[in-house]
């Protein structure tokens, strides 16, 4: 019995697997369209939290550079430029936060796990064209 099972050629990709794959891809694509086609939060704020506590809030419209002090002496250099925020350099070993794309939409965030730093975009008029000067 065991031998017969072993000799049987097993299918590895069937109809149900294809339906599952397509379903997950469609859900993912819908999510991407909803989340990433939103306009930038023009009058939004950049909220910086370290270990769950908000340490500073900066306007997204003003170009600035700030060094964030994370836990265990870690540092992240936050740069706000042209209505987007990004981490220019960081002391963490993996550098995931540095490679992260520049954020500008409400709710988007850059996370540095080793330093427990979370940079989040908050609120603002969502792309109201009249607000552009």
């Amino acid at each position: 019995m065991i031998q017969r099972q072993a000799l049987e050629k097993k299918k590895s990709f069937g109809r149900r697997d294809l339906i599952l794959l397509l379903a997950v891809l469609v859900i993912g694509l819908i999510g991407i369209v909803i989340l990433y086609t939103r306009p930038a939060a023009l009058n939004g704020e950049v909220e910086v939290a370290v270990d769950g506590e908000v340490v500073m809030t900066l306007p997204l419209s003003e170009d600035t550079e700030v060094t964030i002090e994370g836990v265990d002496g870690g540092e992240n250099l936050l740069v706000i430029q042209d209505g987007t925020a990004k981490i220019e350099s960081a002391s963490c070993p993996d550098g995931i936060c540095v490679r992260h794309y520049a954020i500008s939409r409400d709710g988007e965030s850059i996370i540095c796990l080793p330093n427990r730093v979370v940079v989040t975009i908050r609120g603002g008029e969502k792309g109201d064209v009249d607000a552009v000067v």
């Binding site: 990709f13 694509l29 992260h100 965030s109 996370i111 427990r116 979370v118």
Partner: protein, 173 residues
Amino acid sequence: MPLYKNDRTVRIVLYGMMIALAFVFSYLEHLIPLNIGIPGIKLGLGNLVVLIALYTLGTGGAFVIAVVRIVLTGLTFGGLFSMLYSLAGGLLSFVVMALLSRSGRLHIAGVSICGGVMHNIGQLAVAMLVLETVNVWFYLPVLLISGAVTGVVIGIVGGLLVERLDKYLRLRR
């Protein structure tokens, strides 16, 4: 020569081999960073070994390999903190894959897709708890797609390997 389940030497050799292979794959994965600006996207090469173990050694053996792999790679490349993330993703993914592979409703590719997706969901859940923020779910759509795509590739490769290795790895009672 058939392999017997109660032969300790056979088990030690097989598990050791699988763990070493999973460890090497995890190391390879560290060497190839997928740089697209969104954290958490991985090939899931380590999961390939766990998947093969699940279909050949069975649930118990695959569980041992999954846990030992995460602890070893965590201690070697990451540290305790990143190990926590890997464990959450790895265990959730393992439980789902073990249940689905037993139910027989999906083939190995489907099981692997669910494993990949669940791995990412587990990590997001831990990130949410540790960082006390719900913003991590922003990454979910991208991670769903990456988990499904890498999952199906790993699943098809795993299927080919199981087909060829089954007669050597299947343990008899």
